[in-house]
Amino acid sequence: MADCHSQAHRRGGRLILLELLVLLVLVLAPFVVSHYFTILLTRFLILALLALSFDLVWGYAGIMSFGQSLFFGAAAYAVAMAVKLTGSAPLIAVFPATLAIGAALALIIAILLFGRRIGASSAMLAALGTLTATYIAERIVRTTNVLGGQNGLSVPSAPSLGSFSIDLGVPFYVLALLTLLATYLICRFLVRSQLGLVLAGLRTDERRIAFLGYDVVVLRVITFTFAGAIGGLSGGLYALHEGFIAPNVIGVTLATQAVLYGLFGGIGTLIGPVIGVILIEGLSYKLADQFPYLWPILLGILLLLLVIFRPSGLVGLLVSDRERIGRFGTSRRASGQSS
């Protein structure tokens, strides 16, 4: 017993260390970096929510989605319109509204895509279905005048909490970090619960999980909807933070970016996509100016190598597959005592 506990402890060690390290860096960052970089980092934190949303869908439920920007963009536009109409952005309204918009939209799409009994082609259908949805959404937004068309919309008001206005810089950074942390902890609780075990089964073999009596459709719809809510939250904060949004926030490019964050950092762990966002966006910021032509190629090659040689992403280099998947139960009976 003692032996098996220490073993489990060793295995469980690296991932949590990585999580704590990232948290430490993110907590200390605003004390160290300039105002300008704090603003940049805030954007990364908000995008990390989008990456988490993709990870839940693909890394945990096994649904390939090019649709996470749809929930992001829809909420971003909704916030922009609301701010335009009311002139204010109280967080007490922004949070529930963006979560609800993301969830509602995701629910509709999930029912359309997964609602029927489908066989082996469901993975393909999900990828194509979500891709089409984002593509169409971007087209619609680009040609809708009320939404600013090609020019996008400005979001002139900072979010507020009571009478306190959350301005760019440290206040917004704290807001983004707390939101990310809370979301992360909820996701972490869920994927390590017994539901996480069911999702692990679902993504490995959906047919098998159905023969065990699990409802694959319900599992997919619930996960997709939950992830959609997080995508919406991310988009709402993004609009408020950037003060401006263009049709690309709802488009295929951002959807693909969410996929890349996940694949680069490592899907199937929650910390992977967070690291993915920080590294990709950080490197892009550094290198895109210096090597405007070379950088996208470099990033492309890097990603390709990673996907080919380490499909579990950067986190997969540090953490064993066994630890990434985790353990959901073990016998409590002492070793050797067998009936």
């Binding site: 098996c4 073993q7 009994r117 869920l190 390590r192 619960s193 017994q194 539901l195 075990l197 069911v198 692990a200 089964g201 490995t204 073999d205 047919r207 098998r208 999980i209 159905a210 023969f211 065990l212 009596g213 699990y214 409802d215 694959v216 319900v218 599992l219 619930i222 597959d321 066994r322 998947i325 353990r327 959901f328 139960g329 073990t330 016998s331 409590r332 009976r333 067998s338 009936s339």
Partner: protein, 244 residues
């Protein structure tokens, strides 16, 4: 009680008729053996029962209710468990987690989401691990088990759901003789709570454990009856002499 009743089941794959007008009945508390040469339709019949393959015509009754229109999930929930011919355990999960996953499939999703370990199931899972000699290997990945052990794990998973009907497609393939004997004894001990339909090529094994036998040949039922009746049947002898 007739637990499983199959009435005039036909399954065509394009031009190929895999099952032709197959009828059979399995009583609760019995083991029903299904034998026949390669390609005779045994696995297809199993897949029709669990809903993996949709029959072209005919009806399947489970506990006297038609189930052909139900999804695989619904059939599983009604009490049908299965181990397919091709073993499919969740390879990346531990042996323990494989059984845990199966054991709690009755639970509500909200309960699962709020639960970190399902302690209430611990004894039940330990018992299954013991029965199938997997306790020592409980924390290993299922992929590391031998083929025979994976079959055991898969049967244990099916049983963890407490099914009333268990379908086993060649459960002893790749097992040593002692392992087979252990499996046979285990299966016999189950039948008070769970009837079994079993496909096996090992004729002596299936003769020993079955109460009834059905012989399929090229999608048709050649003979169905008690082990003695089937053994003495001239049609069956012909199938096995000319085709195996």
């Amino acid at each position: 009680m007739t637990l499983l009743q199959i009435a005039s089941l036909t399954k065509r794959f394009g031009a190929l008729t895999a099952l032709q007008d197959v009828s059979l009945a399995t009583e609760a508390g019995t083991i029903h053996g299904l034998i026949g040469p390669n390609g005779s339709g045994k696995s297809t019949l199993m897949k029709c029962i669990v809903g993996d393959v949709e029959p072209t015509s005919g009806e399947i009754l489970f506990e006297e209710k038609p189930i052909s229109q139900q999804s695989t999930t619904e059939r599983a929930r009604r009490g049908i468990g299965v181990k397919f011919q091709i073993t499919s355990v969740f390879e990346t999960l531990s042996v323990y987690d494989n059984i845990l996953l199966a054991a709690q499939s009755h639970a509500r999703l909200a309960t699962l989401a709020l639960s970190r370990s399902r302690g209430a199931l611990a004894d039940e899972i330990d018992d299954l691990l013991d029965q199938f000699k997997l306790w020592e290997r409980r924390d290993e990945q299922a992929a590391d088990l031998s083929h025979g052990e994976q079959q055991w794990l898969e049967i244990a998973m099916a049983l963890a759901r407490r099914p009333r009907l268990l379908l086993l497609d060649e459960p002893t393939a790749g097992m040593s003789l002692p392992e087979r004997a252990h499996t046979g004894a285990l299966l016999r001990s189950l039948i008070s709570s769970c009837a079994i339909v079993i496909v096996e090529h090992d004729l002596s094994f299936i003769r020993d454990i079955s109460d009834r036998l059905t012989v399929l040949d090229r999608g048709r039922v050649v003979k169905s009856g008690t082990v003695g009746e089937v053994q003495d049947s001239s049609e069956v002898k012909e199938v096995y002499l000319t085709r195996v």
